[in-house]
């Protein structure tokens, strides 16, 4: 499957706040911590209320995850895992 939908609530997410916007730095999934190596793409879905911020990230293991943060929610979601094809 190209995109595996996970829809998991992340136990913990470390976030960097900067003038150009915030971004995830690392997150814990189950007992494992993943460090974000690269933000591939980011977007804000303002058609939703409240808006949802989406990030495609490559982590230190080389896997590509899609993370989402809905404004006002106290947690981040792990939306999907993007596979090779």
């Amino acid at each position: 499957m190209y995109e595996e939908m996970l829809n998991e609530v992340l136990a913990r997410t470390w976030v960097s706040f900067a003038p150009e916007g915030f971004r995830p730095v690392s997150f814990r999934r189950g007992s494992r911590r993943y460090r974000v190596r690269r933000i591939n793409c980011r977007w804000v879905d303002r058609s939703l209320s409240p808006p949802r911020h989406g990030f495609s990230v490559t982590v230190h293991t080389g896997e590509i995850f899609q993370l989402a943060y809905t404004e006002g929610e106290p947690f981040w979601r792990l939306e999907s895992l993007l596979n090779e094809a």
Partner: protein, 394 residues
């Protein structure tokens, strides 16, 4: 004051977003679509793959092709963010999913030249999103759009004032907006291959051939287009389509497919906070013939049942042939913001109407979280049983 319109068009938009989202796909031939190719990367286009082609055919043309299911909500969010930038450059901006028209008339002194402004916007969008846009500048929206198409990918096309007629004259008729395959075939039978040839037809002849659209074509083949740029807050239509490969004639299955499309489109409509007043259905057959019909609603609708009733009326009017359709498309038109007013019907008390809307919202929440297949209506359940049926079983 001379009008100047800037047209911006993302290059291979859906495919480029997917290549950004998943860098492993970068440089590889990919197509975005479900059944039908909605967008193909330039690497895929090199193998002859085009939007509108059945995915099965695309895979035959390019076995290395990666087919990615579309994520419309992401594409819309990315394009909205990019085009928000445009609003700081032009007082009037009209946006679509992957295109935008900016009215730059009267902004020369502010921007120091339209071509410079266009290049700055292209660079700003590339910096913000990582995506490239092609740009076209011209005296009207059609000329600007044609100039952008000619400059693809990444380029900037500029048609000076006064050159519109000459620029359009040498274009094949299929390139003119408003001329699809059926109209092109009709015109080619009349030995009309280029826009210049089309000018030989009188206004009333074009009106006889194509109705009101003929009058628009009369202007367009002369490089004229009078439509102004309007700021659009929402799309003109929400549509969904499916490829049936000409294998299905069972009316129950076809109506289940229709219901499934309506549910997908309805969910997108509600996500945008809109209601619609027209449902249109297009059926395409294997011989290329298309049949379309639409059904209007007295007031804006957002519930799947109401949308389906309207789509079913249109579908039954359009389905005049017994042949198996190749494709089916549902489009919801005449969109307006959902004011949240729930109108009770004569046989329905207000609290029941409210409950139906609340149920719809709850269903959407489940589907948004777990996928469209997480909840099925009675009609679409038939499709699930077909998917589970072993191949060859009756």
């Amino acid at each position: 004051m001379a009008p100047w319109i800037l047209h911006l068009d993302f290059d291979a938009f859906f495919a480029s977003v997917e290549q950004l989202r998943n860098p492993r796909l970068s440089g590889r031939p990919i197509a975005v679509g479900r059944g039908v190719v909605a967008s193909a990367s330039y690497e895929a286009r090199a193998s002859g793959i085009r939007a509108g082609m059945a995915c099965a055919r695309a895979l035959r043309l390019c076995p290395r092709l990666v087919i990615v299911p579309p994520r419309g909500e992401i594409y819309r969010a990315v394009s909205e963010e990019a085009f928000e930038l445009c609003r700081s450059y032009a007082p009037s901006v009209e946006t679509y999913l992957d295109e935008a028209d900016l009215d730059l008339t009267g902004t020369e002194r502010l921007h120091g030249g339209h071509a410079g402004a266009a290049r700055r916007i292209q660079a700003a969008i590339a910096k913000q999103t990582g995506l490239t846009v092609s740009a076209g500048l011209g005296a009207n929206r059609m000329i600007a759009a044609l100039a952008a198409k000619a400059a693809k990918p990444r380029g900037l096309g500029l048609i000076p004032h006064g050159d519109e007629e000459a620029f359009v004259a040498r274009l094949p008729i299929e390139k003119l907006p408003g001329i699809g395959p059926a109209r092109a075939r009709a015109l080619r039978k009349l030995n009309i291959a280029f826009a210049a040839d089309l000018r030989g037809l009188e206004r009333h002849m074009l009106a006889d051939l194509f109705g009101a659209a003929g009058l628009v074509l009369f202007e367009r083949c002369r490089g004229r287009d009078i439509g102004p740029c309007r700021r659009s807050e929402f799309p003109r239509a929400v549509s969904r389509q499916t490829d049936l490969a000409g294998l299905e004639t069972n009316p129950d299955v076809l109506e289940a497919r229709l219901r499934s499309l309506v549910e997908d489109a309805g969910r997108a409509l509600r996500r945008l906070g809109l209601v619609c007043r027209t449902a249109a259905v297009t059926i395409e057959y294997l011989d290329g013939i298309r049949a379309a019909a639409s059904h209007g609603l007295a007031e804006g609708a957002r519930l799947d049942d109401t949308l389906f009733e309207a789509a079913l009326c249109a579908y039954r009017r359009a389905r005049r042939r017994a042949a198996a359709p190749r494709g089916l498309r549902v489009a919801l038109h005449r969109l307006a913001p959902d004011t949240g007013t729930v109108q009770p019907t004569l046989d329905d008390r207000g609290d029941r109407a409210l409950a139906r809307h609340a149920l719809m919202d709850a269903q959407d929440a489940v589907r948004n979280r777990f996928g469209g297949g997480a909840l099925l209506s009675g009609r679409t359940f038939l499709l699930r049983t077909l998917e589970l049926r072993p191949s060859g079983a009756p």
